[in-house]
C-alpha cells in the first residue's frame, strides 16, 4: 500500500514540481515506525531517499476505520496550525490526504529533532539546569501557540458542574478530597481567561529537541478552543513520568508521580516554579494551583472513563493525587 502511494506521489512531483516542494526521487527507503499496541491507532512511515540523512516526509495510515476520523482531524488541524506565523516552523506541514486501498493516509513534512522522552530515557538532559531550560522552552512555545489562537473569554465554573462530572462517571474519590475541591470551587469561582488552541497531547514524546529550537508533532488531539493551561499541566505530569528517577531501572508511574508532586526535592521545587509561571501568564492566583490541577486531573479521568477506559493512567493519577492531596507541593504556592 505504501509503495503504491509513493509511486503516485513521485508521479505528482514530476507533473507539478511547484506544488510538490519535496525532492521525491527513487529509490526510497521506508521505515515503518512505532506501531502502537492500541488497535485503533495509526502506523507511521518515514520515507528516506538515499541522499539525505533524515526523512523527506512522514506518511500516516489509519489502522482501522475508527481511527480514520482522528487522522482526518489531525490533518485538518495541521492545515490550520501550519498557517500560524509564529509557530509554523515548529510543526509539520500537511502535504496531502489520500485514500489508498480503502485506507485513509495522510502525508506531512518531517520535523527534525529528537523526542525529549527518548533523551530522558538515554539519561540526557536530566541535570537540574537542563530540566529548567526545557520547561522554560516548552512554556515559551505554548505561549506562542496561545497568542496565535486566542478566541473568547470564559469564567471558571462553580461547584455544580464539578458534582455532575463526579456523579455521571461514577468515579469514587475520598470524601475529604471531594469536599475540599467542592469548597475551593466556590472560592475560585468566576476567574476569567481566554480560550486558546491546545495541542491536547503534549508529552515529552511529542516534544522534539533541536539544536536551536523545538518541534511539536502528533496533532491528533488538537482543540482550537480549550482552557489554556491544559497543555502545561499535561506536560509537567508526563515529564515527571518520563524522568529517569531510577537510573536505568524503570520507575513505576505511582513513584514518578509521587516524586513530582509529593516529595520535597529539587524537582518538585521546579514544578512549583513552573506552576507559578504558568498561572501568572493568565493572571490567576498561585493559590489556585492545587484546585486547578485537581480539576485538570478530574477532567482527564472523566474523559478517559467516557471513552470506555476503566483503569486508565489519568484515573490512576487522580486517585493518587486525591489520596495524598494533603502532601501536594502545590499547596505551598
Amino acid at each position: 500500500m505504501i509503495l503504491q502511494l509513493l509511486d503516485e506521489l513521485s508521479r505528482k512531483a514530476v507533473e507539478s514540481p511547484a506544488e510538490f516542494d519535496i525532492p521525491l526521487k527513487k529509490p526510497f527507503s521506508i521505515l515503518q515506525a512505532g506501531g502502537s499496541r492500541a488497535r485503533d491507532r495509526k502506523v507511521n512511515f518515514l520515507i528516506f531517499n538515499c541522499s539525505q540523512p533524515h526523512p523527506l516526509m512522514i506518511i500516516k495510515a489509519a489502522r482501522t476505520e475508527i481511527h480514520q476520523e482522528r487522522l482526518r482531524r489531525e490533518y485538518e488541524s495541521l492545515q490550520q496550525i501550519s498557517r500560524m506565523e509564529t509557530i509554523k516552523d515548529t510543526v509539520p506541514k500537511p502535504i496531502g490526504m489520500y485514500e489508498v486501498e480503502s485506507h485513509l493516509v495522510t502525508v506531512e513534512t518531517f520535523v527534525p529533532g529528537t523526542p525529549l522522552s527518548i533523551l530522558l530515557r538515554r539519561r540526557d538532559r536530566i541535570k537540574e539546569e537542563q530540566v529548567r531550560t526545557d520547561l522554560q522552552m516548552v512554556q515559551n512555545w505554548m505561549q506562542l501557540l496561545q497568542r496565535a489562537s486566542q478566541t473568547e473569554a470564559v469564567s471558571t465554573v462553580g461547584r455544580l458542574a464539578l458534582q455532575y462530572d463526579l456523579e455521571s462517571c461514577g468515579i469514587r474519590l475520598p470524601k475529604q478530597f471531594i469536599d475540599e475541591i467542592t469548597s475551593l470551587a466556590s472560592i475560585f469561582h468566576g476567574f476569567s481567561f481566554t480560550l486558546t488552541g491546545s495541542h491536547g497531547d503534549l508529552w515529552p514524546g511529542n516534544y522534539l529537541v533541536q539544536d536551536k529550537g523545538v518541534g511539536i508533532i502528533d496533532w491528533e488531539s488538537y482543540c482550537s478552543r480549550a482552557v489554556p493551561f491544559i497543555d502545561a499541566f499535561l506536560f509537567i505530569t508526563t515529564y515527571g513520568r518520563h524522568y529517569p528517577w531510577g537510573g536505568w531501572k524503570w520507575t513505576s508511574r505511582a513513584e514518578s508521580f509521587e516524586n513530582t508532586f509529593f516529595r520535597e526535592n529539587w524537582f518538585s521545587e521546579i514544578v512549583c516554579q513552573y506552576f507559578r509561571e504558568v498561572l501568572s501568564q493568565y493572571f490567576l492566583p498561585q493559590e489556585s494551583s492545587h484546585f486547578l490541577y485537581s480539576i485538570f486531573l478530574l477532567n482527564r479521568a472523566v474523559e478517559e472513563r467516557r471513552a470506555g477506559i476503566v483503569d486508565g493512567q489519568w484515573m490512576n493519577y487522580l486517585q493518587e493525587y486525591a489520596a495524598q492531596s494533603k502532601q501536594s507541593v502545590l499547596r505551598k504556592l
Binding site: G34, S102, W248
Partner: protein, 218 residues
C-alpha cells in the same frame, strides 16, 4: 477474551506489501490478527499451517498474488522457497520473517543461555538466503531489521542503505539498560560502516517473483 495487543502490531506488516483489494494472500503460519485485518480489507487469505515434514503447500501453481511467511522455522528452507515460487503468481511478492545468523546478539555468548528456548528456530545468513531466493526466481530483494523482534514488530528498518538505520538508532531507539545505551552509541559507528544488518536479531525479507520469460507480467 481480549486479543494480545502485540498482535495488532503484527497486522501492520500488511502495509508494506503492495496488495490490492480483490487479491489473494497466502499466510504460512499463525498470525490471526494479520489474517483478520486482510479479510476486513476484502483480501482473500489462505491461512496454512505447514507441518515440518510437509511435502508441498496445498495450493495450485501460480494461484496466489502474495505470500506472507511470518517466521521461517524448522522447514527445509530451499524446499519452502521453491514451493512459494510455485504457488505465487509472476510479479507477486513474498514476505519472509527469519532469524539472522549474523546478528550481534547471536554472537554475544552471554546472551546464548537466554536464547536456549528459541534454539529450535534456525537462523539464516541473509546473503545465502538472497542467493536461494534468486535461484528460485525472485528479484527486487530487500530486507528490514525488526525491532524489537518478529513477535512484536514495532519498527521495521530498511537495511539496503545505512541512512534509515542510522536515523533509527540516533533518533528513535530508546535503550532500556546501560548495556543497551552503550550499544546505541556503537550502532552509530556500525551503521556508518554499512554493517547495519548485524544489529538486528530478526529480519524481514521481501522479494518479487520475476515475470514470465517474455518479461510481461501475467
Amino acid at each position: 477474551m481480549q486479543a494480545d495487543p502485540s498482535t495488532f502490531v503484527q497486522a501492520d506488516l500488511r502495509f508494506l506489501i503492495p496488495v490490492r483489494s480483490g487479491e489473494t494472500v497466502a499466510i504460512l503460519g499463525d498470525v490471526p490478527e494479520l489474517a483478520a485485518a486482510l479479510e476486513e480489507e476484502h483480501i482473500q487469505t489462505y491461512v496454512i499451517y505447514l507441518p515440518t515434514e510437509a511435502t508441498e503447500i496445498p495450493l495450485q501453481n501460480s494461484s496466489v498474488d502474495h505470500i506472507i511467511l511470518p517466521l521461517l522455522g524448522k522447514h527445509r528452507h530451499t524446499w519452502l522457497i521453491s514451493e512459494m515460487a510455485r504457488i505465487l503468481k509472476p510479479g507477486g511478492w513474498t514476505f519472509v520473517g527469519l532469524r539472522n545468523a549474523h546478528s550481534l546478539q547471536r554472537l554475544a555468548f552471554w546472551k546464548r543461555k537466554k536464547e536456549q528456548h528459541s534454539r529450535s528456530l534456525r537462523s539464516f545468513s541473509v546473503r545465502l538466503f538472497y542467493k536461494d531466493m534468486e535461484r528460485a526466481g525472485f528479484s527486487e530483494l530487500t530486507s528490514f531489521g525488526v525491532s524489537r523482534d518478529l513477535s512484536r514488530p514495532q519498527f521495521l528498518i530498511p537495511l539496503e542503505r545505512s541512512v534509515a538505520s542510522h536515523f533509527f538508532f540516533d533518533r528513535i531507539y530508546s535503550p532500556s539498560s546501560l548495556s543497551a545505551a552503550i550499544a546505541q552509541k556503537l550502532a552509530a559507528l556500525i551503521t556508518s560502516a554499512g554493517m547495519q544488518r548485524i544489529l538486528f536479531k530478526d529480519l524481514l525479507v521481501l522479494g518479487q517473483k520475476r515475470a514470465t520469460a517474455s518479461g510481461v507480467n501475467v
